[in-house]
């Protein structure tokens, strides 16, 4: 246990910090053309991804040909930390860089890496993740979008029919990392495969689902697939292994996903603390103390999220297990929701105003943005998606605490 990193890590931090200052997208260009969907990469974002890739900072732990530099997890952490401090997004295509590209690298063929993963990493393509369905939300293994192989496994075609929903970024993405049922006779967890599907393929209809805040910039979509045909070679990994890969994909960088969540939380707390005094001054002493205490409590939570994340990270970095990591999504998304509501309450009725905070493009689209009340509403995307907070608690109780299934 100790508070400081090795000097070599701090040297990497310094190197990246200098590179970042020289190469980052400017505040003005991000604000002028912010991403409006997680499948959307504005020109500055494409250039930025390419610059990160070329310099080996995009995925530092990977080899140079994949946009990295063979760095250790602590160096990667430091890079993420510096990006957050500089208010520069690592990517606007969160699922593409965070889940799709790593999954293709792990499970795909060399051609899939060449044609799909690398273009994501070079900022040339964006990808979306086709998982949830109307009757398979938290219960993903029940998905029913079906793909049937016509012809053989080399030259045939998959024919896909079904419907996805809550597909982030599908309205802008170039291709979809699509979970389909290919083995209808197998048990439900063993019948799912993954296909790479161009979003401009005939038979695909994307219907954006405006959200309860920022309805003019929808990120979630319904995706209808009606006899969509893709080559047999679009299969990622083995048939029927989709569920296992999904758990692998979603767990990807599991030691790291907390970083952006915690740093988003820290940024939100910083804004809250900076903006609070003007509102606190208008309150009587009793109400002010209560408001301050809410801020203090979320400040403690923020610090705790940071410490919990780093504690688990240290265990994983040493090759151990880190049961507390299972709590991080639950905790961070709950804190992110509370910080927004606390901040809104501190503003009082003024928090009811909409649209007064412009999108400056420094955050990924799936992070809460806008006014505090808008952020609060938006934050439910995180407590609902990719396993609601209820499901997360079940997972913790069963997998970590070893409680029996109900």
């Amino acid at each position: 246990m100790r508070l400081r990193f090795d000097d070599s890590v701090e040297a990497t931090r310094q190197e990246f910090r200098e590179w970042l200052a020289a190469n980052r997208p400017s505040v003005e260009e991000m604000a002028a053309d912010p991403a409006v969907s997680t499948g959307h990469a504005p020109d500055w974002a494409r250039r930025w991804t390419r610059a990160m890739f070329d310099a080996g900072w995009l995925v530092p732990g990977w080899p140079p040909e994949l946009g990295g530099r063979g760095a250790g997890p602590i160096e990667t952490f430091v890079v993420l930390e510096e990006l957050a401090a500089a208010h520069v997004p690592r990517t606007t295509n969160v699922q593409g860089l965070g889940i799709v590209a790593p999954s293709i690298v792990d499970y795909g063929t060399p051609e899939q890496v060449r044609d799909h993963a690398l273009p994501i990493l070079r900022g040339e393509l964006t990808a979306c993740l086709g998982m949830s369905e109307p009757d398979a939300g938290s219960d993903l293994a029940s998905l029913s979008t079906r793909a049937v192989l016509e012809g053989d496994e080399d030259t045939g075609e998959w024919v896909i029919d079904g419907q996805k929903v809550w597909t982030s970024g599908a309205n802008y993405a170039d291709f979809c990392f699509l979970f389909c049922r290919t083995e209808p006779d197998e048990p439900k967890h063993r019948g799912i495969s993954i296909l790479l599907v161009p979003m401009d393929a005939p038979g695909i209809t994307v219907r954006p689902l405006p959200e309860i805040v920022h309805p003019d910039e929808p990120d979630l979509n319904e995706v209808f697939l009606d006899g969509v045909r893709v080559p047999a070679a679009s299969l990622v990994g083995r048939r029927g292994d989709g569920w296992a890969m999904a758990n692998g994909s979603l767990a990807h960088e599991r030691g790291m996903v907390w970083v952006s969540a915690v740093m988003g939380l820290e940024e939100a707390l910083g804004s809250l603390v900076a903006g609070a005094p003007a509102h606190l001054a208008a309150m009587g002493p009793h109400e002010r103390a209560l408001a301050v205490d809410q801020i203090v409590q979320i400040a403690i939570d923020t610090q705790a999220a940071r410490c919990l994340g780093q504690r688990g990270f240290a265990k994983l970095a040493r090759g151990g297990s880190a049961p507390e990591q299972a709590l991080m999504k639950l905790y961070a998304s709950d804190c992110r929701q509370r910080v927004a509501r606390i901040a809104a309450d501190v503003q009082g009725a003024d928090s009811l105003e909409l649209g007064s905070v412009p999108n400056d493009g420094h955050q990924a689209v799936d992070e809460p943005r806008g006014t505090w009340m808008e952020q609060w509403f938006h934050s439910f995307a995180n407590t609902i998606s990719a396993g609601t907070s209820e499901i997360q608690r079940n997972i913790v109780a069963e997998r970590v605490l070893g409680l029996p299934r109900g």
Partner: protein, 374 residues
């Protein structure tokens, strides 16, 4: 203490609910959200039913019923997130007129010819002891200067009752909407239109002084007026929360995951039981507070502050759990739930949030530090 409705009151409630099911469907609310509709038709229905007259004395064209009956209408309007000038006209403007001991414009209110509202908020704070508008004597009337925020229907009301501060103490005057510079605020819930009003030397003739500044008991009268308006917000907000609750229970019965209704999962059950408690708790306190208004009971200030604090708790919980338990569908613009969520969030904060009202209770229990806002 009898906190249950009489048969007549139950009948009124059922009738109102039936009317609104027809006259205020979710599509009307949606049309306001999408900027394509107006509350005019609904207001016409409400006027034809004499709802503006319901709680006013017969000598002014009213039906002579009490605040409980008005509260029943307020609840039913809140249940369906109805856009309507009734709330501000009856529970704010008419309350201000009557609470001032005046009968100004009550006949027109009763007939539905004039709408009204109450202007008090200073940058989102409703403190009757510190009104943001100053009144300077001018002849036998006054001249007003100041800026008020969050005035319900502030850009459309025919009459604005303004709580004013003077060197001799607070008072209440009525200003025609046409003489006020109003800016509509862009807020989360278009069914609760809020506006900022600027008073830049508006002249108030003597006949529009409802409660003369410096009159004996003026501060108490104003506190009572604000309490009445606050209780109405409580009843409306809790009714909205109850609608969220009922929608969520129904959704939990029909939405299946893992092969069973999500309402069969114990975690969902327990959250809904807690939501039920929050709604019943705020409802019971709300109606107790309403009774203290109706019967002018001395427990009123504490009861109202407690009720608003409980309504805030309820709105916070139901807006959160209602949205969370609906999952993704509740997060979409196309689904009607968000009308209720946004109405609940608005009601939580109008006329002061939970912490403000708990600080009032603390002062009234004698536990707060000196210098506390009452």
């Amino acid at each position: 203490m009898d906190l249950e409705f009489t048969d007549d009151q139950l009948e009124l409630r059922d009738a109102a609910r039936q009317v609104l099911a027809g006259a205020c469907p979710p599509s009307l609310v949606r049309s306001l959200y999408e900027g394509t509709g107006s509350p005019e038709e609904l207001w016409k229905v409400i006027r034809e039913l004499d709802w503006p007259a319901l709680g006013l004395p017969e000598e002014h064209g009213g039906l002579g019923l009490g605040f409980v009956e008005v509260g029943i209408l307020v609840e039913e309007l809140g249940r369906v997130a109805a856009p309507s000038p009734l709330l501000a006209t009856v529970t704010q403007f008419a309350a201000a007129v009557r609470g001032s001991g005046s009968s100004f414009a009550l006949g027109d209110v009763a007939s539905g010819r004039r709408t009204g509202t109450l202007a008090l908020a200073d940058d989102g704070r409703w403190d009757p002891t510190r009104p943001p508008v100053r009144a300077e004597s001018e002849g036998s009337g006054y001249r007003l200067t100041g800026r008020v925020t969050h005035v319900l229907d502030g850009d459309t009301a025919d009459e604005v009752a303004v709580v004013v501060g003077t060197d001799r103490g607070p008072g209440v005057v009525a200003v025609p909407g046409s003489e006020v510079v109003a800016s509509r605020q862009t807020t989360v819930d278009p069914t609760v239109p809020l506006a900022t009003l600027e008073f830049d030397g508006v002249a108030v003739p003597t006949e529009r002084v409802l409660l003369a500044p410096g009159a004996p008991g003026a501060a108490d009268a104003i506190a009572r007026i604000v309490d009445e308006a606050t209780v109405a917000i409580v009843l409306s907000t809790v009714a909205t929360c109850r609608a969220i609750f009922e929608a969520t229970v129904e959704y939990a019965k029909v939405r299946h995951q893992f092969g069973r209704p999500i309402g069969s999962f114990q975690a969902v059950k327990h959250r809904l039981a807690d939501c039920f408690l929050a709604v019943e708790r705020a409802g019971a306190l709300g109606w107790f507070a309403a009774l203290t208004v109706a019967e002018d009971d001395p427990r009123r200030p504490v009861a109202v502050a407690m009720a608003k604090a409980a309504a805030a708790d309820c709105a916070q919980l139901l807006s959160r759990d209602g949205l969370q338990l609906h999952g993704g569908i509740g997060f979409t613009w196309e689904y009607d739930l968000h009308f209720l969520l946004k109405r609940a969030v608005t009601g939580d904060l109008l006329f002061g949030g939970g912490a403000f009202h708990r600080s009032r209770v603390a002062a009234m229990l004698g536990l707060a530090d000196d210098g506390e806002a009452q």
